[in-house]
Amino acid sequence: MVEAQNKPKLKEHRINRAWCKGCGICVAFCPKNVLELDETDKAVAARPEDCIACKLCELRCPDLAIDIITE
């Protein structure tokens, strides 16, 4: 319970659509399968409720297009 309180909780995926080039790295390496590419090949958080805010997408994004905002 104490541990759960210490974990960062997701507020939002801030995805810069102008910078995203749709390489799919964030989609492929998300451990919880949260992200998808939409019909215009831009990353979107399709299942944000599954996000554990590990920020691996943010760290691996070659275009600095993802910010994981936590509470």
Binding site: G22, I25, L64
Partner: protein, 267 residues
């Protein structure tokens, strides 16, 4: 400071291709600098020519975009005149070890306090996919339509032999390790080399049928192992990542200061 405060946002989105590993190196470097709590004015980034060298334009440090292979020579000049600044020199594999091969080994030999980052995608991307001294044997490239016969350098062994006092390697898949290694390399007093295996999906990946960025990063995951692991003993083909050299030897600018001191005493 937030990570975005270290970049020149007006130049984004950057010119690198979709999935290019250089952007991940940029990302990791930003986080390393942020974690060190350094100010933008304490850092000088010097780069040469190539896809990788475009990185200096995107970062809001003191930046010099210089000539092909000579980034370390420029950086040596900056460091000697302003030793209090932190020098970071990102280079491509060709820039660092073909065109700039001599500058590289001599900067390492002098142990001048510079952080060299070799962004190794095993190809000359900007000029259209020619093979580089790190391509290795059996690689398809624009200039090797029947595959290369050249052996590649091992950056770690080369740097160690040339006298670098900090040598590490990681990949764009292992971003957390990469950030940590870049951080340690910047903190190290002396010549530090961080080799980063990075993907060029456009030229290297496509020609060598390695797939796109995701497949190439999975290749890094499957073909690398921590230094000294049991897996390496069982499969010598695995590429090791981690810190290979970390030792204290006299730093060049400090040694030079002593020369100045001796000379000014006169006889």
């Amino acid at each position: 400071m937030a990570v975005k405060d270290f970049i020149r946002e007006r130049f984004f989105p950057h010119i690198w291709c979709a999935g290019c590993g250089h952007g991940i190196v940029l990302n990791s470097l930003l986080r390393a600098v942020e974690s060190l709590g350094m100010s933008k004015n304490e850092i000088v980034m010097v780069s040469g020519i190539g896809c990788s060298s475009r990185i200096s334009g995107y970062l809001d440090f003191h930046t010099l975009h210089t000539i092909h292979g000579r980034a370390l020579a420029f950086a040596t000049g900056v460091k000697l005149s302003r030793p209090e600044l932190n020098l970071i020199v990102p280079m491509g594999d060709g820039d660092a070890l073909a065109i700039g091969g001599n500058h590289f080994i001599h900067a390492a030999r002098r142990n001048i306090d510079i952080t060299a980052i070799v962004m190794n995608n095993r190809i000359y991307g900007m000029t259209g996919g020619q093979f580089s001294p790190l391509s290795g044997c059996g690689i398809m490239a624009t200039t090797a339509p029947y595959a290369t016969v050249d052996q590649g350098f091992d950056v770690v062994e080369l740097s160690r032999a040339a006298g670098a006092t900090f040598v590490a390697r990681s990949t764009t898949y292992h971003v957390q390790q990469l950030t940590k290694l870049l951080r340690e390399a910047i903190l190290h007093e002396g010549f530090s080399v961080v080799e980063v295996l990075t993907q060029c999906p456009t030229y290297f990946g496509r020609r060598n049928k390695q797939g796109g960025a995701v497949e190439m990063m999975n290749w890094f995951k499957d073909h690398t192992t921590p230094v000294g692991s049991k897996a390496k003993a069982e499969n010598p083909d695995l590429i090791e990542r981690g810190i290979f050299v970390q030792k204290d030897l006299p730093e060049y600018c400090k040694a030079y200061d002593q020369v100045i001191e001796r000379a000014q005493k006169g006889k």
